[in-house]
Amino acid sequence: MEIDLRQFHQVFFEESLEGLDTMEQELLNLEEDSDKENINTIFRAAHSIKGGSATFNFKEVSDFTHVLETLLDEMREGARPVTKEVVDLLLRSVDCLRGMLNRIQDGDSAGNEHTELIDMFNRLLGGESNSSAGGETIANLGNQEQEGREKNSDEMLWKIQFVPQSYILETGNEPLRMFRELKAFGALKVHADLSQVPEFEELNPESCHISWNLELDSEIDKESVMEVFEWVEDDCELTISQISVADSRQSLNKEKFSHADQSEQSSIELSTDIEIEENLEETSTSSLQPTAVAVDTTMVTTEKTKSFVADKKAASTASIRVGIDKVDTLIDLVGELVITQSMLSELGDNFSMSKINQLVSGLSELEQNTRELQESVMRIRMLPIGFVFNRLPRMVRDLSTQLGKKIHLEIKGESTELDKTVMEQIGDPLTHLVRNALDHGIELPEERVDSGKSAEGTLTLNAFHQGGNIVIEVSDDGKGIDPEIIYKKAVDKGLITDGVEMPPEQILSLIMEPGFSTAEVVSDVSGRGVGMDVVKRNINNLGGSVDIESEPGKGTVFTIRLPLTLAILDGQLIRVASEVFVLPLVSIIESVPYSTTDISRIAGDMPVYKLHNDYIPILNLVDEFEIKQPMASVDEGLLAIVEGENRKIALRIDELLGQQQVVIKSLETHYKSLQGVSGATILGDGRVSLILDIVGLSKRASERATRNRNRVA
């Protein structure tokens, strides 16, 4: 019987990549004085990758992780100090492993970039443990070495008697794999006891009837040996004892004698890939051509791998890890919903007017259940933003070395939750902002000291919830952005005409216009003038916005505002004439009663409202949208001051209705997108209501202003 392991590959890849992320993070946290737990975590991650890859026969990966583990082990024991060199090497290995795993996942071979690293590891590890280090050595651990060691009778051997229960294979444990792991510690001799194997007719291929006597020539302690058998401890009889080499030879001879007819075939050579099941067959049918069997299997596997590669690409689907508590909440809620439903249906079966109160309370319960259910379903898609933040420390570390800057990265609010889709798309813009801050923002240590700051720059990432938004701040204490330079540059590039007066924040936002880069030297890190505009576009596509605040000499803060989810929006319902629209709650600054006295008219009869020191253009939706009915209120009503992308407009509305969460539906599914409308939603009464797009509306307002100006001129 052959278990199809490929079905587990996806899980293995996911877990391994996750493990690599953990390793990376912990490595970055690794300081010289850090405690053992840090290294332990790294070690555990490496260990499970090694175990997994060995199980699935990704030999390059398991060999490589093994070398890694050897080094980590030394660090764990305290035998090797944590140096930048070692951490660098380990980080490079993490990258390398990630590449290998990705390639294997795509159906390619693992590649051989790791061989160079293995060499480096071996050099680092030196001659101190040459028997257990190095991928090459593992593979070549042959009889010669064993024999050579046997002669040294002073040495002690681990004698392990391993008698698994017959169901061991069903638990997913693979003795062969454990032996491989043991072999990593030193020369291993395996002797299989086949005396319990039944006749071929009675043979159940799923049970294991073999027991093993192992001799391990290694200086490791007993715990390490036990660790290998950690998973099977309860499913086997295990005796581990230490004997001298001389004893071992004797006992082995004895055993050889007792199973004289079988022992030649049964001493399993571990470096071949013969499956245990095959071995069983071989021995019981006293196979004549064991090699042929092995070759056949390899061929079959290769073919299968190929066909698997073909359909794998289509089949790989994104998955999400959800905390069990979230799932439990969902189940509870569904339970409540079912109860409410049965209560209501019972009520409906024999309804009379006297039960109207029950009905009302039942319905309100249903409403609450539904809302809670909706919220928790949404929560399933929510992941902590730490997933994105965590890939930044590594980048900061590498970049600061590359740029010769000293940078301290501070991360706050990494547990702030965010929709998975939003998160996937925020990664690149965020990375770019961080690169920019490192490259342009934070100065070189000398410069910093000269301007009276500490040599080490600080880059802070912060995330928090604000209203229905998540706010991500990327701030540095670098040299800041000088609006004047930006202004000049923008004039040079023809983005604006000289002499136009602009508030500083609007000038700063010019750096996010396409084709704008102020870096004097175009560097590898940033400065090709594509980037900030892409950042802005990406974030706008997500329905978010970017603001820049900067004080020359003090630093810069980029504030990204994003909706928590792309599917739901906190809306304010408004009425204009007979139509009900939804305004995104986050865009509303305030609403004021409309009165003609506050309104001035500027160039070309464009009405504006004076709010503090700002003149805000007034948009009348009845005119703008060509609504056929007039507004209910001619000289009264309200003005809703709304903001999008730093531009404010005032909307004339008749009435503010309720606030509610609305599910965003696209108009484009069956129609076209319309400027000024970002989508539609379905209100409680089943009617469609349009969601206003403030950015689009303010664009229309400014286009109209331009037209008016032209007409006047």
């Binding site: 139509e579 703008e624 949208f625 060509e626 609504i627 056929k628 539906k665 696209s666 108009l667 484009e668 599914t669 069956h670 129609y671 076209k672 997108s673 319309l674 400027q675 000024g676 409308v677 539609a680 379905i682 089943g686 009617r687 469609v688 209501s689 349009l690 229309r700």
Partner: protein
């Protein structure tokens, strides 16, 4: 009233599948309906469903014949008034006014459009060969919107060209995104 009509159509469909279908297997089925004082038809395969008239939600800056959008079990479907599209004078909404939800492909994706008509009349079978060309004399209706004439029970019925009639690119909408993005 309108729901009764839907009922009738459904019943007819049932009858067809029971008996007539066998005899007329080669032909295709068409749904005919009344717009103004004329009868029009579309292939029944293009019809998703028929709904009673309800006032749709207004769409900004839309041409007059786009009445707005309505909620079709959670999806937002635009509604076009065929009488206005055909520039008929008399447009009123009464008990027989219905919205026929039609399917059509636009820019590689399936789109739905509700079409307001004065009433549905019949479902019938017809051979492809029984459809004749539209005569070239002056008609109020844009010739791109028709694709043939068929005679049903002595009456002339105009077969509509849905590819053009429902083509979103032919609906002029200022401030529209222009390109329809897939998805």
């Amino acid at each position: 009233m309108s729901s009764e009509i839907v009922q009738v159509i459904q019943n007819q469909e049932v009858t067809y599948s029971d008996t007539d279908m066998m005899a007329d297997e080669t032909g295709s089925q068409y749904l005919s309906f009344i717009v103004g004082e004329e009868e029009f038809s579309v292939s029944i395969l293009k019809v998703q469903e028929i709904r009673a008239w309800e006032v749709p939600t207004f769409l900004p800056n839309s041409p007059g014949y786009i009445k707005g959008v309505l909620n079709l079990r959670g999806t937002i479907v635009p509604v076009m008034d065929l009488r206005m599209r055909f520039r008929f004078k008399k447009v009123n909404y009464n008990a027989t006014t219905v919205i026929i939800i039609l399917k059509n492909r636009n820019n590689g994706k399936d789109c739905l459009m509700g079409c307001v008509v004065d009433g549905v009349s019949d479902v019938f079978n017809l051979e492809e060969s029984e459809i004749s060309d539209v005569p070239e004399y002056g008609s109020d209706i844009d010739s791109r919107f028709t694709s043939g004439i068929m005679t049903v029970g002595g009456n002339a019925v105009t077969l509509l060209n849905l590819d053009n009639l429902l083509k979103l690119d032919l609906i002029k909408h200022p401030y529209s995104g222009g390109q329809v993005v897939n998805g």
